[in-house]
């Protein structure tokens, strides 16, 4: 059983399109995250939700909108995609210790 699963794994789309990435965790964790990893492997936190409530909203364009229908799901919707949005997006969930468990990543390529 996959602990943190995200879909799709690959997304290739044109500039200006809207796309969504879904994430689900079956670990029973209360906190979920979206991270962006660029081509140089830098990890940047985008959002964090604790029990469906937004607790971190880093400086991210408002074209990015997270949605958490319940504490096991955290989806990411991106409007009006730009070239600079190309990256790997990781979903994660965490224990009380702060240890993160990551999904397999969704590689977004904007043409």
């Amino acid at each position: 059983d996959t602990a943190v699963s995200q879909t799709p794994k690959y997304l290739v789309t044109q500039m200006g399109n809207d796309k969504s990435i879904k994430c689900e965790q079956n670990l029973g964790h209360d906190t979920m995250y979206w991270y962006k990893q660029d081509s140089k492997k830098f990890l940047k936190i985008m959002f964090s939700y604790n029990n469906k409530e937004l607790i971190i909203n880093e400086t991210v364009p408002n074209r990015f909108s997270p949605k958490s229908p319940d504490k096991a799901h955290l989806n990411l919707h991106i409007n009006s995609l730009e070239l600079g949005d190309s990256a790997v997006y990781f979903c994660a969930s965490s224990l009380q210790t702060g240890e993160l468990f990551f999904g397999e990543g969704s590689r977004l390529t904007v043409l």
Binding site: K41, L43, I45, F90, S94, G98, F101, F102, E104
Partner: protein, 110 residues
């Protein structure tokens, strides 16, 4: 500004050798995390260090934490090719959020 610095950022070594990756951080945190990432893959948690003097070992990897020096180390003993990966350290801040280092790309040559 909160900062985590890893050193070196790139390391190429021969199998059988020992080496250490260093992780300096800027706050008085006592929580430090190490992760491994294989090319094109996800990040896997290796070690969670939750107190000063914590030492954890798994196979050929050993991690330690010195909160007074604000330093964690990841020591590799008798490296093997399978340990080739990018290793990240991350510091836990007061809100349990992680501040990430830039990663150390480790290549181990047979």
């Amino acid at each position: 500004e909160l900062k985590v610095e890893q050193n070196p950022l790139f390391l190429s070594m021969q199998e059988g050798k020992n080496y250490t990756i260093y992780c300096n951080y800027s706050t008085t945190s006592d929580r430090l995390y190490w992760y491994r990432q294989d090319p094109g893959k996800s990040l896997e948690s290796l070690f969670v260090l939750l107190s000063n003097g914590a030492v954890k070992q798994e196979g050929r990897l050993m991690a330690s934490l010195d909160t007074k020096a604000r330093l964690s180390t990841l020591h590799i003993t008798a490296a093997v090719h399978d340990l080739s990966a990018t290793y990240f350290c991350a510091e836990g801040d007061s809100n349990y959020q992680l501040i990430w280092g830039a990663g150390t790309k480790l290549i181990i040559k047979p």
